[in-house]
């Protein structure tokens, strides 16, 4: 099974590259020939601290199969290494939060080649075949995005974990299928684009370089809709395009 992946990202306008809090794994574009493959995109929540680090751990954890307990310990050990001001300490106690979407592809000996997607929060995956969008998961309508999704927390709080909902879906991939893993701002924009113009697969396939993504995002952030909001919310943006062939 040959899997190629293109990864593009950009920080929220007004923020520096260091302040980018999405994450992906693999951490750069890739091309591999393997019987099984895992990749992920995550989005650290703005209102929590060390969220980018937590998002990166979740992506790596999904792809490499690390246990949640292990990831939480790694986060906690790393962020508590120095004395912090009162507000940073208080923020740490609340933990970091992130949305995660992970894709697991397998090549079997049979005719059907399965994939599994796991998702928590509002990072999304779109499945595209022959320039047509087959499905969007875990959110399939742009109106279902909001600013308060239940996310994965770096602390093991019973009350917090109880509200966190991990969604799973399964399917089959065929030669040449593409999967787009997206963080929330571009995912919401993408679903709206599909609802209005039904040309999303084409638009996404045409993003071949980082400059292509920068151009698209800049234009959509500047385009103000009737309700006074930008066509694409000003937020970190991550796009991973995975194409698979047997």
């Amino acid at each position: 099974m040959r899997v190629t992946g293109k990864l593009f990202w950009m920080p929220k306008k007004g923020n520096s590259i260091e302040e980018y809090e999405d994450a992906a794994y693999p951490v750069e574009s890739f091309e591999v020939d393997v019987p099984e493959f895992k990749c992920a995109v995550a989005d650290g929540a703005t209102e929590t601290s060390f969220a980018g680090f937590w998002a990166a751990l979740l992506c790596e954890g999904f792809a490499e199969g690390y246990a949640m307990k292990e990831l939480r310990k790694t986060w906690n050990d790393a962020v508590r290494q120095k004395e912090l001001p009162w507000y940073a300490e208080e923020k740490l106690e609340k933990g970091a939060y992130a949305a995660l979407v992970g894709l697991h592809l397998k090549k079997t000996r049979g005719k059907k080649n399965p994939f599994v997607v796991e998702a928590t929060g509002d990072c999304c995956i779109l499945h595209v075949r022959e320039n047509q969008m087959l499905s969007a998961f875990p959110i399939s309508k742009s109106e279902d995005f909001n600013n308060s999704p239940a996310l994965v927390c770096s602390h093991e709080f019973a009350s917090v974990d109880a509200q966190m909902q991990k969604h799973t879906t399964k399917g089959e991939w065929k030669d040449g299928d593409s999967f787009f893993l997206l963080s929330d701002a571009i995912a919401c924009w993408a679903l709206k684009r599909q609802e209005e113009l039904q040309d999303l697969a084409n638009v996404l396939q045409n993003i071949e370089t980082q400059e292509d993504l920068n151009r698209l995002v800049d234009e959509e952030r500047q385009l103000i809709l009737e309700d006074g909001r930008p066509s694409m919310k000003n937020d970190d943006v991550t796009l991973m395009c995975v194409t698979v062939c047997s």
Binding site: G14, E47, S49, G52, N147, P149, C153, V160
Partner: protein, 283 residues
């Protein structure tokens, strides 16, 4: 649509607190069971403003420090007049970025709070509790002058930040204005606006009454005190996005719901500030 402006370091918004430091605030604060020996209204006010500032700072805290999404002012009004109320390094400052608030509390106390132990139970945990204000109360209640002072301050702020998310003013008082009828001055304050909407004025009424706490009422029918009715009449109707957030938390709201609470907590206002993704399951 109003109240949609992005709050960022390049386009910050502003919080202005008006705190009643008059003599009547030394009276006992109402307890639900009417028990004696509780806090004074001035002590309850100090708790309220310290908690609001603490929550605002934490909201803006990130791994790399504080992001100045807000500028903050605190105006005190009482027997010593009307003016900036901070002490220490912030003394006499009318409006400062939130990082200056974060880094200049009067002192940081150690307190104990109960937290989730991860197994469905609670454990005691030591926390740092910053204090910017101690209880204070003497003389009259020049609330009208406080609104006029706030008006001047925000007129200047809005000229410098014409496209900001509209400033939020939080007035914490027992409602006994002693200079003039504050109604018109409050209306004038609420009529100030940025391109994104009008200034929001919320009132927290601290009373000696042992009546049940009231949060975000739709009308003044259940408000038994005259001062409550006055403060309610001077409170902004909640913008639609705040109505939705309150509604999502199970609070019954209508298009008439106002930013007013009686002997209750206004920290929810900080929770409603939109600076990015806020996890639904954040504790």
């Amino acid at each position: 649509m109003p109240y949609t402006a992005e709050i960022s370091r390049t386009n910050p918004s502003c919080f202005l607190f008006l705190i009643d430091q008059s003599g009547s605030m030394q009276e006992p604060f109402g307890t639900k069971d009417g028990a004696a020996g509780g806090k004074t209204k001035a002590e309850s006010l100090a708790d309220a403003i310290n908690r609001l500032l603490q929550n605002l700072v934490i909201k803006c805290a990130k791994s790399d420090g504080i992001r100045d999404y807000y500028h903050v002012g605190v105006i005190g009004y009482g027997g010593t007049g009307v003016g900036p109320a901070f002490g220490g390094a912030l003394k006499d400052k009318e409006m400062v970025p939130v990082n200056e608030i974060a880094n200049n509390p009067m002192r940081v106390e150690q307190r104990v709070k109960k937290v989730d132990d991860g197994a469905g139970g609670l454990v005691e945990q030591k926390i740092k509790f910053p204090v910017w204000f101690d209880a204070k109360g003497e003389g009259g209640t020049p609330m009208c002058t406080a609104f006029i002072t706030a008006n001047k301050l925000l007129t200047k702020w809005l000229a410098e930040h014409p496209d900001c998310f509209p400033p939020i003013v939080i007035n914490i008082s027992d409602g006994e204005s002693s200079d003039m009828d504050p109604y018109q001055a409050a209306m004038d304050l609420m009529n100030l606006s940025s391109t994104d909407g009008q200034v929001l004025l919320f009132n927290l009424h601290l009373s000696s009454s042992s009546e049940k706490a009231i949060e975000y009422p739709n009308d003044d029918e259940k408000l038994t005190e005259e001062h409550s009715k006055v403060l309610f009449s001077m409170s902004s109707v909640l913008p639609e996005y705040m109505q939705k957030m309150l509604s999502a938390e199970g609070v019954p709201v209508t298009f008439a719901t106002r930013g007013f609470v009686f002997n209750a907590d206004l920290v929810s206002v900080i929770r409603f500030l939109d600076i990015g993704t806020r996890p639904a399951n954040l504790r």
